[in-house]
């Protein structure tokens, strides 16, 4: 028994080393997608692998966004990093501050001689991942922006015209009153509260979320989301929560279950939630632009993105980077992007993919799917609406979540909660600044 066990172990150990070295170079890609998105991602890899013989891309699921980032960082410390790492937008500053760990995408492209034109990418999408000098550091992969989902049946049931104007929060508020009167427990719910109701709220009304152009121009940035605009908005939401007009379901996209089940009239969620709503909703729904406050003159500015980008990590062979460049180019091609955009509701990353989707008549067949793009590209971006580049932002979002929850329960008023979130978050920013001096 002992002998056979030993034999098996030996065979297994030899087996892993004795695999015939294939001619193709392997490219490791660590990502955070499961389910339908994971399937679509795997399909992209298969298409790429089938299209040429020099490289084989191997996709590995490493848990959720935070876990994938941690796995990448831990692997880098151990010298076993993948070639490509999927990092959510929140981790952008962490990656940018580690020049020794990353290989900027523009550099990968230049060195491998791949055909690469940074201007082909949609400005508000690539802006998030580009240096002030316009050099693209990571390749946007899945990007979305928050929009308003409307349950048209719920509006009709409340005696409202489902085609009514819902551009401003004032109008939405009035509609929520009617929906509430008609007996609904959930006139409004939201996903990703910090992203929608603070980060995007600020950009959309051209108010700073943090100083130094939201961190784009310096590590010595300080949070600024306790200004009058944000306080007024959070205060209003706190009152809606108290009046039973806003139902809080959780920090991530838990509220989606309630909306898809038809319980809620309005739902603020990522444009990428479209596929899920379309698949499950047994009522008439519609996508509208994110509402703004009519009292703010600068609104509506543009909203900002969420999602992830692909970072190329340092420490591999030149030959392998050629494969990386080829794969990233493949991902940016119009066909791949247009398909990805239409299948998922994520934004296309290139102008060409947007034009192709339009030419195919997709937006006419699926009304509302272009709202996210229009909302992002309607105006040139300002210092407040390019995006966010803040260190330790995953944890800062956690702090914001905590403080917002205190407002929803009525424990704190909006000003106190946001002041507290700002001062706690600033401590983390100073820690981050110190670590990356």
């Amino acid at each position: 028994m002992k002998k056979t066990l030993l034999g098996t172990v030996m065979a297994l150990a030899m087996g892993t080393t004795a695999v015939p070295a294939s001619a193709a170079t392997e490219i490791q890609w660590w990502h955070a997608f499961t389910g339908r998105l994971g399937d679509l991602l795997a399909e992209q890899i298969e298409t790429f692998n089938a299209s040429q013989d020099d490289f084989v891309v191997v996709g590995t699921h490493k848990g959720n966004y935070s876990e994938a980032l941690n796995a990448g960082i831990a692997a880098f410390r151990a010298g076993e990093q993948p070639h490509i790492l999927m990092v959510f937008e929140v981790g952008t500053a962490t990656m940018m501050s580690a020049p020794g760990a990353i290989k900027p995408v523009y550099e990968v492209m230049k060195e491998s001689g791949a055909d690469f034109n940074a201007d082909a990418y949609l400005a508000p999408v690539k802006g998030y991942y580009t240096t002030p000098e316009g050099e693209m550091l990571s390749l946007p992969y899945n990007s979305s922006t928050p929009v308003l989902y409307v349950n048209r049946d719920a509006l009709t049931a409340a005696g409202l015209d489902p085609d009514m104007d819902l551009s401003t929060w004032e109008q939405v508020d009035a509609a929520m009153d009617k929906v509430k009167e008609a007996g609904s427990d959930c006139p409004l719910t939201t996903a990703w509260q910090s992203w929608v109701h603070l980060e995007n709220l600020s950009a959309y009304h051209d108010a700073p979320f943090a100083t130094k152009e939201n961190g784009f121009t310096g590590l010595d940035t300080e949070l600024a989301f306790n200004g009058p605009l944000q306080v007024a908005h959070i205060q209003a939401m706190g009152e809606w929560a108290k009046d039973g007009k806003f139902m809080y379901a959780g920090r991530r996209n838990e509220g989606g279950a309630n909306f898809r089940a038809g319980e809620c009239a309005f739902f603020t969620e990522s444009s990428a939630g479209y596929a899920g709503v379309k698949a499950e909703a047994e009522f008439e729904f519609e996508i509208r632009p994110l509402p703004y406050w009519s009292t703010v003159e600068a609104a509506p500015q543009n909203t900002i993105i969420g999602g992830s980008s692909l970072w190329v990590l340092n420490g591999h062979e030149d030959e392998e980077y050629k494969g990386v460049a080829q794969f990233l180019n493949f991902l940016s091609s119009s066909d791949v992007q247009a398909k990805w955009h239409q299948d998922t509701g994520y934004l296309p990353i290139t102008t060409a993919a947007y034009e192709q989707t339009k030419a195919e008549g997709f937006y006419e067949k699926n009304p509302g799917t272009d709202i996210a793009i229009l909302q992002m590209t309607s105006k040139p971006t300002t210092g407040n609406s390019k995006g966010l580049r803040l260190g330790s932002f995953d944890q800062i979002r956690g702090i914001i979540d905590e403080e917002l929850e205190a407002v929803w329960t009525g424990d704190k008023d909006a000003q106190t909660a946001l002041d507290s979130a700002v001062s706690r978050g600033n401590q983390l920013l100073r820690r981050f600044e110190q670590a990356n001096k």
């Binding site: 580690a98 020794g100 379901a249 944890q395």
Partner: protein, 289 residues
């Protein structure tokens, strides 16, 4: 017995000493060393800050609150899991028919990994779709552990205690079976009823088991409940369930702040050391072996 010379005793101690050195002293030393630095996440550069990490920690009101949370959580988990286990063991000890089946069922939950237990409880108490929260809603009780910190604490306590009850049950049952029947029978003949026999005879004789479980359960609540908290509340709402060890994780592996995380590990090291000394010094005195 006494040994001649020093070679054999050293040789006999060596395996244990090596294990302690590799798995305890080396990592603990690393934690102490790293607590004096603020490194960047990728380990490319690092800055010496002396006691800066500790100053930062102890000026953070949420860190100080985490001590209280840990104390409340550990005491609740220990009391809940031990008292229910003792009660079940007492009942199981009295059964004659089918006792094996009962015991097996009671021991079963111990085989469930903490993170899995967390997910099970999370499903039942999910405010949107959970069956338990649905029943509570029917009875007019509004359950939302995502916003209500008291409910969140109870939920993680219950989920952490659940699997632990089996473990404690096993030890209590073994302890109960070691209590001499003759003593109990003598008391019964003297007219002492069940609870009286329990408090005056059985419970004191069980004290070595109880003490052992007390130490083990507190250590469990301090360190091993991590999976449950991570899956159910992630330390929320408003850090109401962020116990010390969870904060080490979230600052180190979510926030990538390894300096602060190392400093917290050092603090935790002292807290647990202190706790163990206190337990052995003061509580063990009252144990009858």
């Amino acid at each position: 017995m006494t040994f001649k010379g020093w070679r054999l005793p050293v040789l006999l101690i060596l395996p244990q000493a090596l294990i302690t050195a590799v798995f305890f002293f080396w990592p603990a030393g690393q934690a102490i060393y790293q607590s004096a630095f603020i490194p960047d996440p990728f380990g490319l550069k690092s800055q010496f800050v002396g006691f800066g990490n500790f100053e930062y920690l102890f000026s953070d009101p949420y860190y100080l609150a985490s001590f209280k949370t840990t104390a409340v959580f550990s005491i609740l988990v220990t009391v809940v899991s031990m008292s229910i286990a003792l009660w079940l063991a007492l009942m199981a000890d009295r059964i004659i028919k089918g006792s094996g089946t009962y015991r097996t069922f009671l021991i079963w939950p111990y085989a469930v990994a903490p993170a899995v237990a967390g997910v099970l409880w999370l499903f039942m108490f999910n405010p949107n779709v959970g069956i338990a929260s649905w029943y509570m809603d029917q009875m007019g009780y509004d359950w939302n552990h995502k916003l209500n910190s008291g409910q969140a604490m109870w939920l993680v306590v219950l989920a952490s205690s659940w699997g632990r009850i089996s473990y404690n049950f096993l030890f209590f049952l073994a302890g109960l079976q070691a209590v001499p029947r003759s003593v109990i029978e003598a008391a019964a003949i003297d007219g002492a009823h069940f609870w009286r026999r329990f408090w005056t005879i059985v419970f004191p004789l069980l004290s070595p088991t109880t003490f052992f479980l007390l130490v083990v359960n507190i250590v469990y609540a301090f360190f091993e409940t991590f999976g449950v908290i991570h899956t159910i509340t992630s330390g929320g709402p408003q850090q109401a369930t962020t116990i010390l060890v969870y904060k080490v994780f979230s600052d180190g592996f979510v926030g990538q702040d390894l300096g602060s995380s190392a400093a917290q590990s050092v603090v935790l090291l002292f807290v647990v050391g202190l706790l163990t000394v206190v337990q052995f010094k003061f509580i063990e005195r009252r144990v009858h072996y």
